[in-house]
Symmetry: C2
Subunit: 375 residues, 2 copies
DNA sequence: TTGTATGCGTTATCAG
DNA sequence: CTGATAACGCATACAA
């Protein structure tokens, strides 16, 4: 260790004598100290020159900048983070990355973060409370400046989020928000989305409409179910408790959806249509109906939330409710950066609610039909 | 600034005198120094106690650990990074996150990274060389320990990757690999995948099979095209240059695919089937044919690479070649961590080649048909 | 067994 | 205009 240190200390002067131009610097990274030593200046001078400080003479600046350029100097971001107590990176916790909705949202997050010089550190809860909390802990031991979260379906206890927020960590929730934490939130109009979809099913002649939603704990589930119920009520259809099912893990496991579908189909009066109230549940239902050889929508109508880039192309069976995931990610990140970079604590928090797209198939027969997009 | 510092210095002793138990520590993070001061120990003792060093007495250890627990101490990872010259985070550069293949790969990457205590920092090149290089620069100013890359379609100049690798940065390429950099690589058998798909089209009776591939610069494109050509040759079908098209940006922009498709359909002898040689190109083709009201596969056969979770469900039109993206991500990360944590420089590099899945539709008529999966 | 001093790379403060 | 020094939080070689 000591010899290594010494060798480093002695390497550079020798290097100067021989040839400044092509110092190898294979593994050792270039630091301000190296520049200072090579140029016979102090580190503070070099630092100031690099930051283009007014107190440095033009000649010195030029000298330093040129040399820095030549040896390909880059400031060590970790040292900067330590000093400035900020890492210029934001953490993201979602249920799973390989999910169209979330990956589109992350796309939006990364776009804005990148434009503002922030890194994005992602982690997945896989709908598990435990994993979520571990990530929360891990990310927030002061290695991130802010956090964007869509909570896990399992999560019932929001204390850790609340504590963290109270301690001053900027947090923005999107999609699955925590209603009783007072911070920025970004969602779509879940009520309206579910309402429109249900109404569309009714207009197509379906009478016995069932709904499969994500965990009851999530506010988005409650809102979506409320929209579904309202649409039924408005059309004078009586809601049936046995027609509403929940998947505790948001359909992450197919068996969960299978169970819900079976529960619906085993009833004396079967539903004639299913409204799937989340991405995974939608594709899950589709998959299950397909494997059971139940024709969609001839035997059973199906409509659901989905952000897959192929849903618009699948047809005729499936109509979908699509969330503006990319925009949601962008907006969430914008709000977060605002929180991070505002000097004084923010007191007014916004809840941005975007409109979901309803993409419908007009005909279930014509192979060439075009989707109709309703905002 | 100075008063802030002073207040911090004076806060703790006062705090000790009043009540240790519920120091607020709202925004100020707890450090080893705080523990030392509160307990009347030196920072080194505290540090050693926390790391369970053998040179510390059991009583002191207990004291320190309990107090640390109580005030919810967490070591500052940034300080650790600075000291240990490692950040315990790995960088990932892909074309775009909102792409089934890449998001599945990232899923695998995150899984393994998480298990090993590493963070994943993601960034997207959006197929642009410039963006890729900026990210490369940004990530690698020593803030990451290693890098997992699938290069942008635009990239023709791999010098920066090579230099970085030569400087000792562990890099693992996946999917779109850089053949002349000697490091670990993870791909599928692109040749075989394209070969099987082409062969399948021929067996289904298609004679005039065209191919649309990603940028010619990418080795995966060349391999896939080679597989396509070999299959044609083996069945005694003459290849036609005019039937092979390339999208410089891998179909990221739909117009690019549109152009390729138009180019094919405008020829005197039109192709009767299209082989799409990347994810985006496959969905792009599907979208374009749909919008032009060209029936698939009755008017034109279509088969392509795709990792969307819905492709298996779409049918009958589309048969697909699916890559084991998740596993590729896992393997790449495993290899990378091996590189990062091996003390001595690795000399033997592996190229892992996985088998792609070919998921076929046997019938183009029966709505209820099941996909056949060929390994 | 514990404390002191040092360094990781950077910048801010203060003194020339 | 420039240099020495301290500090960010932590761990360790060395001294006691």
């Amino acid at each position: 260790m000591f010899t290594l240190l010494m060798s480093k200390l002695y390497l550079y002067p020798a290097c100067e004598l021989i040839n400044l131009r092509d110092c190898p610097m294979k593994f050792e990274a270039v630091t301000i100290k190296d520049i200072a030593k090579a140029l016979g200046l102090s580190t503070s001078t070099v630092s100031r020159a690099l930051r283009d400080s007014y107190e440095i003479s033009p000649e010195t600046k030029k000298l330093v900048l040129e040399y820095a350029e030549k040896i390909n100097y880059h400031p060590n971001p970790i040292a900067l983070s330590l000093r400035e107590r900020r890492s210029r990176s934001i953490g993201v916790i979602v249920a799973e990355i390989a999910n169209s909705f979330f990956s589109q949202a992350i796309d939006g997050i990364e776009s804005i973060a990148y434009k503002n010089g922030y890194n994005v550190i992602i982690s997945q809860s896989r709908e598990s409370f435990e994993r979520e909390q571990i990530h929360l802990n891990y990310l927030t031991s002061r290695s991130i400046d802010g956090l964007i979260v869509s909570v896990a379906s399992e999560t019932k206890d929001f204390r850790n989020f609340k504590d963290l927020h109270d301690k001053g960590m900027p947090i923005v929730f999107f999609d699955r928000v925590v209603t009783d934490i007072d911070t920025h939130k970004v969602t779509v109009d879940n009520y309206q989305g579910a309402y429109n979809a249900t109404r569309h099913l009714i207009e197509k002649g379906f009478k016995q409409i069932a709904a499969i939603a994500n965990s009851e704990v999530l506010s988005i589930s409650r809102e979506r179910v409320a929209g579904y119920k309202a649409a039924l009520a408005d059309q004078g259809i009586k809601e049936k408790d046995s027609f509403i099912r929940h998947c505790a893990h948001g359909g992450l496991i197919l068996s969960e959806v299978e169970e819900a579908v079976s529960g619906l189909l085993e009833q004396k009066t079967k539903p004639d249509a299913i409204l799937a109230l989340s991405d995974k549940i939608t594709t899950g239902c589709f998959r299950i109906l397909k494997s059971r050889e139940i024709a969609v929508p001839d035997e059973i109508g199906l409509i659901g939330f989905s952000n897959s880039d192929l849903t618009e192309l699948i047809g005729p069976p499936l109509s979908i409710i699509k969330q503006p995931a990319f925009e949601m990610g962008e907006i969430a990140t914008g709000l977060l950066l605002q929180l991070i970079e505002s000097k004084r604590p923010v007191t007014e928090f916004e809840t941005k609610t975007l409109a979901p797209q309803l993409i419908l198939r007009e005909s279930s027969v014509n192979k060439k039909d075009r989707p109709v997009i309703i905002r």
